[in-house]
Each structure stands twice: as structure tokens, then as C-alpha cells.
């Protein structure tokens, strides 16, 4: 009898493999954790979009929880995301923008047209800060805690649903 049961082992292994691979089919291949989670926000030295003479560094992000949003005028999804960012700003979330691979003129025009939820926007025409953040397509958002450590990375579009279900809970979670 036990010998008969031993014959079932390959079948069970096969069933386990099927379940494993079947689950893999339903997973989003683009979803993966950021390499920067629990690490310090990378150092930068960038001017602001408004003022080419005003230079900021990462001390900007110390002291309170901040959502850093990487956007660009050339990015259509960023336009769709603006209402959600404005809603977050209304709810008291501090936002800092990174105008990524853009021109000053286009960036300013974008904010005039779609609204400006940002306390300040950093101007990153070469994409150096974006590169250090591992950004591979705007929009991307990074939640930085009061110590300047990256706590959450949102790749792509923040939907109205995400505002309530993901972003606000994360902001509250890392509140000092």
C-alpha cells in the first residue's frame, strides 16, 4: 500500500509545478520592488524649475514625509496623473516635483496648464537625478520619510483609487 502511495509523488510534484507556473501567468511582469527601498534618497544638486539661480540638495527632503513625483511635459500619463497629485496636496501631503528630461519653458507651461501641486519642482534636464533614482519611465513617485529615506516607490500612473488605497495609507504609516 505504501509503495502505491510512493508512485503518487511525481504526480504531486507535477501538480505543485502547475500551480506555481499558473500563478506566474497572472502576475504583472513589470511589477518589481524598487532597488532603493529603505535607502537614503540619492544626493543631488539641482536648480528649481522656477529659478535657475536657486540650487537645492537633498536636505530639502528632511523633516517631513514627502512624495517626490518624477514628471515631464513630454509624458502623457503625467497629465492624467495631475488631478490625483492635486488631490493629495489638498489632503496635506507635501509634494516635490522632478521635471525630468524637459525644458524649463515646457515644464512651466505644463504646470500652468494642469495645475501645480508641488511645493517646489527640481529641474533635471539631463535626467541625472532620475537615473540615480532608477527611473525608467515617468511618471514615478517616491515616498520619502522625515529622515530622507525612501519608503515606497510607485512605478507609473497613480490612479484615483491608488490615492485612497495606497498613497495616503503609506504617507500616514511613515508619519513621524
Amino acid at each position: 500500500m505504501t509503495r502505491r502511495l510512493l508512485l503518487l509523488i511525481p504526480l504531486l510534484l507535477f501538480a505543485a509545478l502547475v500551480v506555481f507556473l499558473y500563478r506566474g501567468l497572472a502576475k504583472d511582469p513589470a511589477a518589481r520592488d524598487s532597488a532603493l527601498l529603505a535607502r537614503d534618497f540619492p544626493a543631488f544638486n539641482l536648480t528649481t524649475l522656477d529659478d535657475p539661480n536657486r540650487t537645492l540638495d537633498r536636505s530639502l527632503l528632511k523633516g517631513q514625509v514627502t512624495l517626490v513625483n518624477v514628471w515631464g511635459e513630454w509624458c502623457p500619463t503625467c497629465k492624467q496623473e495631475m488631478p490625483q497629485l492635486l488631490a493629495l496636496a489638498d489632503r496635506g501631503v507635501r509634494l516635490v516635483g522632478v521635471d525630468y528630461k524637459d525644458t524649463r519653458e515646457n515644464g512651466r507651461q505644463f504646470l500652468d496648464e494642469f495645475g501645480d501641486p508641488f511645493e517646489v519642482s527640481l529641474f533635471d534636464p539631463e535626467g541625472t537625478l532620475g537615473f540615480d533614482l532608477g527611473v525608467y519611465g515617468a511618471p514615478e513617485s517616491f515616498l520619502v520619510d522625515a529622515e530622507g529615506v525612501i519608503r515606497y516607490h510607485h512605478t507609473g500612473y497613480i490612479t484615483p483609487q491608488d490615492v485612497e488605497d495606497v498613497i495616503l495609507p503609506e504617507v500616514n504609516k511613515w508619519q513621524p
Binding site: 511582469p29 513589470a30 518589481r32 520592488d33 524598487s34 532597488a35 532603493l36 528630461k101 535626467g127 537615473f131 540615480d132 533614482l133 532608477g134 527611473v135 525608467y136 519611465g137
Partner: protein
Amino acid sequence: MAAMTRRLLSICLLAIVILTGTAAIAAIEVQDFEDPALMQRYEDLTTRLRCPKCQNESIGASNSPIAADMRERVAALLRNGQSDRQIENAMVSRFGDYALYDPRLDARTWLLWGLPFGLLAIGAGVVAGFVLRRRRRDGRESASAVLDEHERRRLEALISRHDAGSHGRRNDGGAP
């Protein structure tokens, strides 16, 4: 006629393949290195590093802007005299393990690398078990087939008596 059309068609297809192929290559900028060894390392690295924006393209093969940024960074780091390992680290720290086609062996990936060898060991164990059991059984059978001195003499006696008996009978039967 049909053969001719087919040949014409295949020439057209070939032309399309060649033309689009060169177009794709033309879109990727050329990096010039004084040192051919550096050039070789650049080519190796851009083949080994994966474009984070694409599902399955090396940064050397991809046209996406982030792949171009990464190639540029690889070239700059090579000129700075960094080792392959350092350059890979620079990419992994920003874009995660996804940036490497060959995942490294560490605490999180030992299962990935070890599983094939583990399965091979289990398979070898099962086969060895079968072989050993078969050999032990065969050994028992041949051991029981070996006769001691007394038995052998008895066997010879039986055979010779049998031979003599059958001879006798045959002779008897053959007589008219």
C-alpha cells in the same frame, strides 16, 4: 511562374529584414574607445545588462531612452577605470537585480541556482537506490545458485546416471 513569384517575394522579404535591421542599429549611438579591450568590455557589459523598461532586451539592443542613458553611463564608468563588477553594482543599486541577465548568487537567489543541482542529486539518489536494490537481489539469487562440494558431486552423479539411462533406452528402442 510560381517559383519566380516566390523568389521575388523572398528577395523583398530579405530586403525588408536588412533595411529594418540596419535602421535599428543606426538608432543606437556608437561609443568610441581608444583601447580595444575597453571596447570589448563595453560590448560585453551592454549585452549582460538588461534594459529595465523592456521585457527582454539588453541595453545594447534597446532603443528606449533609459537604455541609451545606461549605455552612456557604462561608457563613462569604463573610461573612469571602474571594474565590470563596479559598473554592474552601479546599475543594480539603481535598477535592481532585474538589470542583470545572470542573477547573482546570494541569500535570495541560492534556491534559483541550487534547485537544478538539488533535483539532479535527488534523481541520482533515486536511480542509485534502484540500482543498489537490484544488485543486492541479483547477488542473493546467484549466491543461492552456488553449490557446495556435496551438492556438486550429487549433481554430477545424477547427470551421468541420466545420460547412461537415456543411452540405454535409445539403444533398446532402435533394435528390430
